[in-house]
């Protein structure tokens, strides 16, 4: 399931979402849904390796060195801590389904993940601290846009309840 998602999200990102160019330079990055929706109790090493592969493939297609790889890796590494922050300490004992109806906890988890990913992404992409304002602006607009896409995608592909 996760691996089907890996390729589908990557393909959708490269073919559709990389060509949206809102205001000429803002693209949503819903491909990070792969990291967000990875099973909560899944293998940590596997998540980190696949996140790296996901990011480096994005870099391959957008000529950006290791920008996406670094931000995806950081998100994958920080994921357990965001879980703890959003759902409380006991998250490991219950099975959290992220792709379910949107509660405040789930939303805060999504928001934090997207902000962390985008902030690191744009810092590394712009790569000069003198344009910090531009980095923040891109992060904020990008986050709103990505969040919107993520929520829509989650609602469309919600697994059937049995």
């Amino acid at each position: 399931m996760s691996f089907v998602r890996f390729f589908l999200l990557l393909a959708a990102q490269i073919i559709i979402f990389n060509n949206i160019d809102l205001f000429g330079y803002i693209n949503p990055f819903p491909y990070i849904l792969f990291i967000i929706l990875f099973p909560v109790n899944g293998n940590k090493q596997l998540l980190i390796i696949t996140s790296f592969l996901l990011g480096i493939t994005m870099d391959l297609f957008s000529n950006s060195g290791g920008v996406h790889a670094a931000s995806c890796l950081t998100l994958a590494y920080a994921r357990p801590y965001i879980f703890k922050f959003s759902f409380g300490l006991s998250y490991e004992y219950q099975t959290i389904k992220i792709n379910d109806s949107l509660t405040p906890e789930r939303f805060s988890f999504l928001l934090l993940s997207v902000v962390i990913h985008h902030f690191i992404l744009f810092i590394l992409e712009v790569f000069q601290l003198s344009s910090l304002l531009d980095i923040l602006f891109r992060t904020i607009i990008g986050t709103i846009f990505t969040l919107l896409m993520c929520v829509i995608l989650i609602y469309i592909f919600k697994p059937n309840k049995r």
Partner: protein
């Protein structure tokens, strides 16, 4: 010893994270420096191939505009051809003893980026078609960029919409030189810096490539002057140049294969070494 293994095993995901993060940071820093890595670029087999497929579909969507552009160019070239007064005079302009100075390779843009500070374009055609790094790329309206990396079948181009690109350009009317850069703000405008103050310029003047670079031949269109600023620190003009090209919509391009280039570079290297 046991403890070391225990430590590695316990923190394996952390160590893995640090290792991979180091790799990606090295790649990032490399991508921002002048010598970019050849591995992570869209000129390679995988991404080049995918972009070619995608382009195959999206090409149909603006087939009409591309046709119009090509037809216009044809008309212009035909009118040039018919308006030649004395056909014996013409070849001597650009060639010596029947050898053309400049050769063009036709190619097609398969991926175009313009939404970050460092933009690259991917085109079809690479070493097999005779494309080599540092060749100039133009289309019928003006300049587009310089070839960066090539693979067997694809090449990447440093777009003029790239903060690292710096191209020699001049004002057509007065022949004053400057450097063409991009400030990363608007895809329709680039900046011409270091233009001397004694240049008599006006809004609307045409900017063309200068003859100092061996990459582009002289007098290829770039754009028109939109705004004129005076740089307080250096007392040079900084000009905002409106591009003739719509960099967000590129189709067919020409790669300039200058025959003088190798000769000039060889000569310069020889002079330096002595």
């Amino acid at each position: 010893m046991q403890q070391i293994f225990n430590f590695i095993f316990k923190n394996s995901h952390r160590l893995l994270f640090l290792l991979l993060l180091l790799i990606s940071l090295v790649l990032t820093i490399q991508s921002h420096s002048f010598h970019r890595s050849k591995v992570i670029s869209s000129a390679n087999f995988l991404s080049g191939g995918v972009y070619e497929r995608i382009n195959g579909f999206s090409e149909y969507l603006n087939l009409q505009t591309q046709n119009e552009i090509l037809a216009n160019e044809n008309a212009r070239l035909k009118s040039q051809l018919f308006n030649i007064k004395d056909s014996t005079l013409v070849p001597s302009l650009d060639s010596i003893k029947g050898v053309d100075k400049v050769n063009l390779i036709v190619s097609k843009v398969i991926h175009n980026s313009y939404n970050v500070y460092e933009n690259y374009i991917t085109i079809k055609g690479g070493e097999k078609a005779g494309i080599k790094p540092d060749m100039g790329v133009i289309n019928s309206l003006g300049i587009i960029g310089i070839v960066d990396k090539t693979s067997e079948k694809y090449s990447t181009i440093v777009s003029i919409l790239n903060k690292k690109s710096q191209i020699n350009a001049k004002i057509k009317k007065t022949n004053h030189f400057g450097s063409l850069i991009w400030d990363g703000k608007n895809t329709g405008f680039v900046q011409l810096i270091d233009v001397p103050r004694l240049a008599a310029i006006r809004k609307g003047d045409t900017i063309v490539t200068g003859g100092q670079s061996v990459i582009f031949p002289e007098n290829i269109n770039i754009g028109t002057i939109d705004k004129i600023y005076i740089d307080n620190q250096t007392n040079y003009y900084t000009l905002n140049v409106k591009l003739f090209n719509d960099m967000t919509n590129l189709g067919h391009v020409y790669i300039i294969k200058s025959k003088d280039r190798e000769e000039i570079i060889n000569l310069e290297n020889k002079t330096k070494n002595e």
